[in-house]
Symmetry: C2
Subunit: 331 residues, 2 copies
């Protein structure tokens, strides 16, 4: 509303041009009001989660804006999937630095638009503001589960089989390569980096988790660290076998050539795969049901009685690995 | 989880010590899970709003942390009140700069705790992260209204009386004094600055707005600019009289001594009072009902047929004021 002229659109023009087309739900009122109205379905709980991604912390300022948008949204969708929830919509808080460009915002919004189609979610509301530092994006994602059916961290029981979806470690290995601590071919590096930039939230697994999982979370801070969270919330211990942890071909090659890469795969962050514990008697049915929705899950260990707060990781000789750290924090 | 020792608590300790006590709803799971579960009441719509406040943009980095917390929460609660919603809870995304201190976080959390008691809201979930710039706080607030009863910007009708709650301009005048563009006594400055730092969301007015208001919003970007939003969303015009705009004693003194202060009061931001339009036949009942919940409301003008996108502001001689700008943007 300020009368001085700049070449970039003002806040209202920016919202109208790039974000209004994303607000397809009638309750978003085309972003023309101060708030959104959301009518919950009968017999459902809302599942609410918030995650922030910030330049220089979670992504490089020069990363492609569409991939930044996807990552900001998907880390939240991944939380919903792990809780057994179907995704509904999201609230976007976008803080832009003084040197933001319209081109950047256009590509950022295009990344969101792609993912809205892919995951059937919609922008419910937002706020665009200036910030003193780099781009900071906070998304609050909203999902639904049947009443009382959110899958908790705290439900793991001794004897449960521990499963993970997909493969682990690619994203963290990409960072280690970027830091010069590991080396890989250009093609391999590109594939690993793609997993860092474009996590694949396992939305299709949500109903399978509701049916079979005693506990679940998404692996965002490293497998061992996140498993420790499950143990702590559930009052149990856990033993996993490093050799059973599923690795991509690229990650396997790195581990063979450079054994320290195994630790990165076990404790690095940004996997956004699902860790779930399932009663042994239902383990086979869980594998089948996950396969039926297109997600490979791998059993990597067992839940035990309450023990150390840190899960035990056995090497291929059955000896406990000593890990200098068990997880990765973005803080 | 990183093994290196620092004098400050890590993310998990920080959350456990300062934010877990704020998460009093059972669905927040003491912040021990990846998401919150919220069971909506039958026959209610959720009302969702998000606002970010950032150091150097919405507050000074050296402002008292408890007042920063209050402002971050209250600007969102004010949106809920304007929409006729009762506040339920909020999701907090807190990005801290590298030089954050535990003392700052303690005082910030204490500010939130005070306001949770005052407004009967609770922390449902959150994310704490590092950011490259200064402190950035995004809050998504969640409220409820009876199904279909959210008060919109778009409902104003020609002939409606235009009302505002409380007094306008104090916060913007405080900023002008801080910038050396206006001067006031120390006591007066302190009172004005308090209104900038500690907005008073008009929660008690929410049910009154649901009953009487055709349209409403909270005045955050300046009276004339926000009234323009109502006109644009409703397809109407508006005429207000500058002399009827309610001013505090401090603001009145400034306007008498320094007439340019009137423009600041009409177009400056951060009032967080309610602007509502009410059918003429119910205007007296609205004033009474607002008074009964402790909020003074003042009629300042009338909604007219669709006209200019910018409301007309008449001076005391009935002549239209020319305003260089009509509102304030935080962008």
């Amino acid at each position: 509303m300020v009368s001085k002229r700049v070449k970039r659109p003002d806040e209202f023009a920016l919202i109208g041009q790039y974000f209004r087309p994303l607000a397809t739900d009638p309750g978003a009122f085309e972003l023309s009001d101060d708030a959104a109205a959301y009518r919950p379905s009968r017999g459902r709980d809302l599942v609410l989660t918030v995650d922030t991604v910030a330049a220089g912390v979670h992504f490089h300022p020069s990363d492609p804006p569409d991939s930044i948008a996807r990552k900001a949204l998907r880390v939240n969708l991944s939380d919903l999937a792990a809780k057994g929830a179907s995704a509904v919509g999201y609230m976007l808080a976008l803080a832009l630095p003084h040197d933001w460009s319209e081109r950047w915002v256009r590509r950022f919004a295009a990344g969101l638009a792609d993912d809205q189609r892919r995951y059937d979610v919609t922008l419910l509301g937002g706020d665009t503001t200036r910030a003193a530092g780099g781009v900071t994006i906070s998304i609050t994602a909203i999902g639904e589960v049947p009443t009382g059916k959110m899958v908790r961290r705290s439900g793991a029981r001794p004897g449960d089989a521990i499963f993970v979806s997909g493969t682990l470690g690619d994203a963290a290995l990409a960072l280690e390569i970027a830091r010069g601590k590991l080396s890989a071919s250009r093609a391999s590096t590109a594939r690993l980096l793609d997993r860092y930039r474009n996590p694949q939230p396992r939305m299709s697994l949500a109903p399978v988790l509701r049916r079979y999982a005693h506990s679940a979370l998404d692996v965002s801070d490293g497998l061992v660290g996140d498993l420790a969270h499950v143990c702590s919330a559930s009052g149990v211990g856990a033993v996993i076998e490093a050799a059973r942890v599923p690795l991509s071909k690229d990650a396997s090659s790195l581990v063979v050539a450079q054994p320290q890469a195994l630790t990165t795969a076990l404790t690095g962050g940004d996997d956004y795969e699902i860790l779930a514990t399932v009663g042994q008697e239902k383990a086979a049915a869980f594998v089948d049901a996950a396969g039926a929705v297109g997600v490979a899950v791998t059993e990597i260990g067992r839940v035990g009685a309450a023990g150390d707060s840190v899960p035990v990781v056995l090497d291929q000789n059955g000896k406990a690995l000593r890990l200098a750290q068990i997880g990765h924090t973005h803080f």
